[in-house]
């Protein structure tokens, strides 16, 4: 098991390197650069200023040299400094990660709990009215973009009915309180999570339907077990194993979604920071975000595989 984990970690190094290479070069092809984003061409002596600043930031060097400078820093445990503010990228990430984890974690929880519950009910009542209703809602969920759902939620629950605040992580000026924070969390978390429940629902439904017809479920009934035990211990225990994979697959999608949702709700997480960095062509911050999310996705894939071996005794990594 340990050797398996070590091997997986080693394999992930070239993958991460590849991701950073691709993103670095693609980002450099964006029109404009950090200096142009900061200095207006109408400033007196703009050309000299721009040249000077580019020299300071190293933006006048060939792109591969810039990449290796960034990589050199990374190997020393340094993600560089923001072009805009000069702040350390590591500090910027550290300050914003908790907010993103709070948002993504809650969204994921919403998606899993609601999605799995709907999937199980749908499968157990296959072809019933409730199954068709859930299936319809599922397709609607897959089809609605999260930013659109976010705006609808804001319009209804914040602007029309005043149940929840429109944006932010807490009320400005007030002392921090958990209930205030949670009130701010509800809308963005549901906007991010609800559209993903559909995926969990569809996977769970299929998986439960498949397991339900297995011989060992018939055995369980023939042994005289009560229906609750048959469903939980014999059907769900098996059916939810593949659903664990979906959690691993869902994480990159959530990262993408949280960028949009954090922007709509002005949620001060790394997604909002990333959007700001892209607008300002702040490549150290862009790279910091990309590297962090890539590491998280890699880790979650590994964790999924490890979780598998605990859930299914037939899977052993030796």
């Amino acid at each position: 098991m340990i050797t398996y984990i070590l091997r997986r970690l080693l394999v992930s190094i070239p993958i991460l390197l590849g991701i950073t290479v691709i993103v670095f070069f693609v980002a450099s092809k964006m029109p404009g650069d950090a200096v142009l984003a900061m200095i207006s061409t109408e400033t007196p002596q703009a050309e000299d200023l721009i040249k000077l600043r580019r020299g300071q930031l190293g933006l006048d060097l060939p792109i591969y040299v810039q990449y290796f400078r960034w990589l050199g820093q990374l190997l020393q445990g340094n993600l560089g400094f923001s072009f805009q503010t000069g702040e350390s990228v590591i500090d910027m990430l550290a300050a914003r990660i908790p907010a993103t984890i709070e948002l993504m974690g809650t969204a994921l929880l919403i998606a899993i709990v609601i999605g799995v519950a709907m999937g199980v009910v749908s499968a157990l009542k296959q072809y019933s009215r409730i199954d068709y209703t859930f299936t319809f809602l599922g397709f609607a969920g897959i089809s609605i973009p999260d930013f659109f759902l976010g705006m609808i939620l804001v319009y209804l629950f914040a602007i029309e009915w005043h149940f929840f605040p429109t944006s932010g992580i807490s009320t400005a000026g007030d002392a921090y309180s958990l209930s205030d924070n949670l009130r701010h969390l509800v809308l963005p978390a549901f906007a991010l999570g609800l559209v993903r429940t559909a995926t969990f629902m569809r996977y769970t439904r299929n998986s439960v339907l498949e397991v339900m017809n297995n011989d060992y479920v018939r055995t369980a009934r023939a042994k005289g077990l009560n229906e609750w035990l048959v469903i939980t211990r014999h059907i769900l225990r098996n059916a939810l194993i593949p659903v664990v994979t979906v959690i691993g697959l869902m994480l990159p999608v959530l990262f993408g979604g949280s960028v949009i949702i954090e922007m709509i709700f002005q949620w001060p997480g790394i997604g909002l920071m990333f959007i700001g960095a892209v607008t300002a062509r702040d490549s150290p911050v862009i790279m910091g975000y990309v590297l962090f999310s890539a590491v998280i996705v890699q880790m979650s894939n590994l964790l999924t595989d490890i979780a598998y071996s605990f859930l299914d005794p037939r899977i052993r990594y030796d």
């Binding site: 018939r218 055995t219 009934r221 042994k223 005289g224 009560n226 194993i241 299914d312 005794p313 037939r314």
Partner: protein
């Protein structure tokens, strides 16, 4: 618990009808079967795939799921109670306890993610009212009884850690753990190697006699059940077409279908063999309710009446019933053949 005296009726199935409803089509799987099984007695239900043998026993266990299947009529008297009238709760106390089943494929009939000990004790604890520890000890005893080596060390192993034969032993131990008065074995050896098949048959037969259980063997293999059971019911198209004591059936099969089946068994010595013998024609279409003899289109002895009317199930000799209009004539023909 009314165990019943040997020789007293333990199970009486009367006119059991089970149908399946899918996509607007009705499948007439079991069309009114009746039989009686005494305590301690063993019988076989044989027939080809789709003849309704598995559905029959699943029906008497009330394990037919609706949708798509439904038991439409009949009585299943077991230890004096009509199982079809019991509440689901009362039926659950009978399943796995008074009537136990072992299934065809031991590879898929055990839950792959649960240790076998748990799968055994989850049956034992509610039925016998034992605590966790006592149930585990009972499970170890049962595993020893079915000849599994070092059962105490294997209780926490998962199904994939056992061979096919071992798994079927585990299934048998599980089925017998609550000392049922009726054991239903649904093709228990079909998925096993031939050498293991004989061991499993011997094991079940031995335990059945030792524990005084009645047994129903479902099989499509006439040869396999020949040495094991007291009587045989032959199913065709959802009907029992012939029911006889085992020796009588093999020596003097009365129904043309039974005769065809017995002729189709390849001989061990391979003499006079040539091509394997098959029964011409196709199995009956179960979408239509049989109003005439379902075997008539394939029957060598067919007469006009066979196409017009469903034969009644008549007792031809004591303990021997057939569903054929021409049983008497065919028996006479057989008698002449045997004289020549």
């Amino acid at each position: 618990m009314a165990r019943g005296q040997i020789g007293q009726p333990l199970l009486e199935v009367r006119n059991l009808v089970t149908r399946f409803y899918t996509e607007g089509v009705t499948i007439h799987a079991v069309n009114g079967i009746s039989f009686t099984l005494n305590a301690g007695e063993s019988m076989a239900i044989v027939g080809e795939s789709g003849s309704g043998k598995s559905v029959s026993v699943m029906s008497l266990m009330r394990l037919i799921r609706f949708p798509p299947g439904r038991i439409e009529a009949g009585q299943v008297l077991f230890e004096g109670k009509d199982l079809l009238q019991l509440s689901e709760e009362a039926m659950r106390r009978i399943r796995g306890n008074r009537i136990a089943m072992i299934f065809q494929d031991p590879m898929t009939s055990l839950n792959p993610v649960l240790p076998i000990g748990l799968q055994m004790t989850e049956t034992i604890r509610p039925h016998l009212g034992l605590n966790r520890q006592a149930a585990r000890e009972h499970a170890i005893e049962m595993l020893a009884l079915v000849g599994l080596a070092k059962p105490q060390e294997r209780l926490d192993d998962y199904p994939h850690q056992f061979s096919g034969g071992q798994r079927q032993r585990v299934m048998i131990a599980m089925a017998l753990s609550c000392n049922p008065s009726l054991l239903i074995a649904d093709e228990p050896t079909t998925a096993l190697d031939v050498t293991v098949q004989a061991q499993i048959v011997e094991l079940v037969q031995g335990l059945q006699q030792k524990l005084g259980m009645a047994a129903i063997w479902i099989s499509h293999n006439l040869g396999l059940v020949a040495g094991v059971v007291d009587k045989v019911a032959v199913m065709y198209g959802g009907h029992i077409v012939e029911q006889s004591p085992v020796d009588e059936l093999y020596e003097r099969p009365r129904h043309p279908y039974t005769r065809g089946l017995l002729r189709a068994i390849p001989k061990m010595d391979g003499r006079d063999q040539g091509r394997l013998i098959a029964i011409d024609g196709m199995p009956p279409d179960l979408r239509y309710e049989p109003l005439s003899c379902p075997f008539a289109p394939r029957c060598a002895y067919v007469v006009a009446k066979c196409h017009a009317e469903l034969p009644t199930l008549d007792e031809f000799a004591p303990g021997q019933t057939t569903r054929c209009w021409r049983t008497g004539e065919i028996a006479a023909m057989q008698f002449h053949e045997s004289l020549q």
